[in-house]
Amino acid sequence: MTVNVNQGVLKRAVGIGLTAVMGVGLLAGCSSDSKTNTATGSTASPTESAERVTLKVEIFDRGNSPAPYTITNNYLSQLIQTNFGDPNNIDVEFVPVQRSEEVTKLNVLMASNTDVPDIVFTYDSSVFYRYAQQGGLTDVGALIDEYGPNLKKFIGEDTLAFGQLDGQQFSIPGKRAITGRYSSYIRQDWLDKLGLPVPTTTDELYTTLKAFKEKDPGGLGSKNIPMGMALAPAQFETLIYSFMKPISGELTYSQRYELPLHEGFKDAMQFLNKLYNEGLISKDFSLDEDKTQLAKDIQNGNVGYWSEDVDVLFYADGTLDNLYKNVQGSKVQPVDVLTNANVDNKHIKSRYASNGMYIMIPKSSKRAVEAVKYLDWMATGNNLIDIYSGVEGENYDLIDGIPVVKADVAQEFADRLFNAGDTAIISNSKNLGDQATNEKAWISGFPERNQEALKQSIAIANTDTIGPIVFGKPIEAESQYGTTLNDKLAVIIVKTAMVKPDQFETVYEQEMKDYMSLGGDKLKAELEKALTEIPAQ
């Protein structure tokens, strides 16, 4: 009896499914006729088929396409086809690559030779260098000079240097609008309750944390976390940077796993060890690599002081909004506390390099000219604003020449720009002019209630920053040992933090010896050699 019913249901379900798919198929058939960016579209009109070419462009797929758009056919892809493709007799076709699997897929596409898009990109410098060294990339130096004047002007010589290998321009680095990275925060209401001033040095911070721990201003008992910590760069990098000595002036080695090669690294670990053993930081920080637990603790009002990426707290319904909702009377103040004794007690912290992703044209591409033209088009006139900000009056209002996101933008309009950041590959965030202008535009996209705090936060992130040294050539040891050493760095931090203070010395020595033998010594030697060969700047 039940058996029959089940079969009936299944048959019906399959029937519905089939009709639905056929329906979908019909729809897809219809829409592909109207789509301008498919290959069939061009063959349908024989008059122009002779010269019309297809330009294939990689696009990150994050699975967040809002209906009715897809990652390959959406407002922006249509905009690009209409404004760039059609006038130039080019069909722009987007090739989706899953964000988290980009390198795997890119490797396979590169190896296939035939299926690789004409424009590919990655944020990973070692991937770029590997492709360049193996001879897989087009030198676009001359092409940019000929077809990309606007592009060249937009990116600028300094940033273009990131894409060079042995003087050849094997990639076009995107330009980064905001280089500020980290800021720190303190619970003002906790300070007020204890009648304490805002700490301004590392020592004062320690005293304040001690007070948070002993006097428990939040009345939290065992949940009290004086300083929020996670095994993530925003937390441990800020701490390490405030102890280490930069390699040269305001520049230092660019990779995170190169931090142990700096003078002062040990002091940072020792300080962390002290904080951990005195119960001043999150006990479970070693498990919290994606900062989920930290965000939870902050929102529940359990954390007194912490560092974060400059923007993370301030999104609508984000960490800060939730904290204020969960804890009556709470108040968060952006602060710049940690001081570096090695650098005149400045508030040393890291900043981003001025480049974004590495945009590359594979050697097998026959559309290198069109590819450069495309990037040049993007850098021309109002096009970048059209991509990043949408339509004036619908998505944004122009205030003092800055496109300010409308507070009450309709969902339908907002959906247009779901992949704006991934489409505007030449620009990491909105590049409108100088850094201050870019920041203003960026801040305008946040809820008004958080804008003032974000502004302060950005100001802190821009203070006393240390940037990366550009060697203009790959460091072999980086691509060979980078991932291993990155894992090792995490192990060093966790082990040396969690060990009893009297064993700190032994464990630290042991772990550093390990680090060195896993490739750290080769890396050190190569970096130091490269340093001497660097042309005087």
Binding site: N113, S126, R130, S286, E289, T483, T484
Partner: protein, 314 residues
């Protein structure tokens, strides 16, 4: 159990070539399609193993890259990480073999002993749910449950005035957590095959045993277990073949930095050198090593099993 000795004795027929073909052509015809599949889709790409002996360049392709002989093997066998990850892979797989392999067998027998049909069906359906929850989500739940400060289990221990247990950050507690999540995730799913095997038991055997006054445990020991022995042996051999290979997600997600020296396994090692550092050649060498060892293990255990139990996979 099922085989009556009389039938085990097959008739011996000597056949001429023509009559052999007449008798067996249908079998070859049946076999031909799957064989073509294996040749095209499994052996077709097999030339890729030569990457292990080449300085692989993505753009020159496999054919165009230069031969380097056994250089890459020397490099891999000289890496300390290779041995530590191999050791961990063995250790985790061995513990799994002792704990996680018998778990579905026990669970299947327990289910088989349940008389209430509806209870049995509902439990089976729920037991296999964890198999469908991805490791990323399981990882999140495990941290919520077993963290030191925030974990619920330790919260309960603390409120009872007991010491907290570092389930995730110290070696032995972590191993138990690792094994437990494995059993939890796969035991229910693993019962399915045993339940299928258990349907083959002749119910009359139980009735006969009951007349003889056998207890429930005796019946399990002498009727239930022997009847699924071939299935157990088959799965055991297949499992032994996987002793040096290990899934990526479970050790990676349940593992963490504090226990990295135990949770770092061959698959995470391969991921690091192959994918993240782009050293395809080294990754292929490790893969080849795993394949050879796996093949030796499966053929060896099959050989031993045939001698000892009479069952095997070949």
């Amino acid at each position: 159990m099922l085989l009556c000795p009389v039938f085990l004795h097959r008739r011996r027929l000597t056949l001429s070539k023509a009559s052999y073909f007449r008798r067996y052509w249908q079998l070859y015809a049946l076999l031909s399609l799957p064989l073509i599949y294996f040749l095209i889709f499994r052996y077709g790409p097999m030339y890729g193993v030569q990457i292990a002996f080449k300085d692989f360049n993505l753009f020159k392709g496999i054919g165009g890259s230069e031969w380097i002989g056994f250089d890459a093997f020397r490099e891999v066998f000289g890496m300390r990480e290779f041995y530590s990850t191999l050791r961990n892979t063995f250790m985790l797989n061995f513990l799994d073999l002792i704990i996680s392999f018998p778990a579905p067998i026990i669970l299947a027998i327990m289910l088989y002993e349940i008389k209430s049909v509806w209870f049995k069906k509902i439990s089976q359906t729920i037991l296999y749910i964890p198999h469908f929850i991805s490791w990323v989500i399981i990882g999140g739940i495990v941290y919520q449950l077993f963290g030191n400060q925030s974990g619920m289990v330790n919260g309960v221990l603390e409120s009872m005035g007991l010491n907290t247990i570092p389930f995730l950050t110290e070696k032995n507690p972590w191993l138990i957590t690792y094994l437990f999540t494995g059993v939890w995730q796969s035991a229910g799913w693993g019962t399915i095959l045993y339940l299928a095997a258990l349907t083959g038991i002749n119910r009359e055997l139980f009735e006969a045993a009951e007349v003889d006054g056998a207890t429930r445990l005796k019946k399990i020991r002498y009727i239930t277990l022997p009847s699924i022995k071939p299935t157990i042996v088959t799965l055991l051999i297949l499992n032994l073949g996987k002793m040096v290979s290990i899934g990526f997600d479970r050790p990676y997600i349940i593992g963490n930095t504090a226990v990295r020296e135990y949770s770092d396994v061959l698959s995470t090692f391969v991921y690091r050198i192959g994918l993240e550092s782009g050293q395809y050649t080294l990754a292929t060498v490790v893969g080849l090593f795993q394949a050879v060892v796996g093949l030796i293990f499966i053929l060896g255990s099959n050989y031993i099993s045939k001698k000892v139990t009479g069952n095997g996979i070949l």
